[in-house]
Symmetry: C2
Subunit: 199 residues, 2 copies
Amino acid sequence: MAGDSPRDLVFITSNTNKVVEVKGILKEYGIESKHMDLEYPEIQADSIHEVALTSARHLCERVNRPFFIEDAGLFIEALEGFPGPYSSYVHKTIGNSGILKLMERVQQRASKFESVVAYADSIREIVVFRGVAEGNISLEARGEGWGFDPIFIPKGANKTYAEMGIDAKQRLSHRRTALERFAVWINQRKRNGGLKFSL
Amino acid sequence: MAGDSPRDLVFITSNTNKVVEVKGILKEYGIESKHMDLEYPEIQADSIHEVALTSARHLCERVNRPFFIEDAGLFIEALEGFPGPYSSYVHKTIGNSGILKLMERVQQRASKFESVVAYADSIREIVVFRGVAEGNISLEARGEGWGFDPIFIPKGANKTYAEMGIDAKQRLSHRRTALERFAVWINQRKRNGGLKFSL
């Protein structure tokens, strides 16, 4: 990243689907961030909070500037929280059709999408922000979208995330909520003079 | 573990179901081992080899004596290897009934159980041993047993692991194969004078 300052805030992910969405939301709050394409280990744990926190701790040893990561998962009530922290593996293997098959003949379709943002500042403090979107698993896949977007209907809507289009989805997504909390906190800290990187 | 020698070989697991089985197999080869009940992190990875290797590396920093761990997974061909390295989480959430539901109307039922043993010696070299049992997913759960044993029929058998009883299962299990390879290697190394712990 030639020409970058070691004080620039970086968003670390190898999932390019997320980059535009994440940077866009932060920008609304006046926060510039750069993308760093880096793979990092994730542990097996029942909560994505724990997964992200451990990854951030690990990354602190490799990345010498303020950074954040984002992890998300779909938790289905009738399936005891499955696929939860293993959402991307489950999507890659059994996919949306596997989830719909598991949910055949299941009346109780409540589920939630959860997002966590783990931020490490220049003195290696880590803070985690969380966003949740409640909703239901649809009866069939509808719309074009990545991940579980075609089978998740947020509460109060009758379209799936995928049918809504990215703008409408982003207005109520779990990822937006987590990022907004992060952004508000960053700006507050900046006003209080406690921020260690340049915006 | 009062009275233990720091040179004793220890088997680290928090899954007590495994202890008797694992210690028994090693004993057949004249190898004594002690159980250490310790939880350790596992990473998310597509192969259990990688999961076990990373856990062993981590444990090297915490455990000051020769040790081994064992990890196993069920890989179902028609489900792209699912549940694989996440077998215990998947069992805890959707369970055997979830797997059978995913396999409804699926003709191709081939699957394999895989076990890896990761051993770290006193100079912190790590060696990994692997055992595989080929088989099929049954049409329904049969027999009493832990994990996926009631839905796995090993090749050449018509009973599930759970129906066979522990002795018959152990004669052809993936875990036995991995442990036997480990035991043969240990004994060979001992004969060659290269072994650093007391047996």
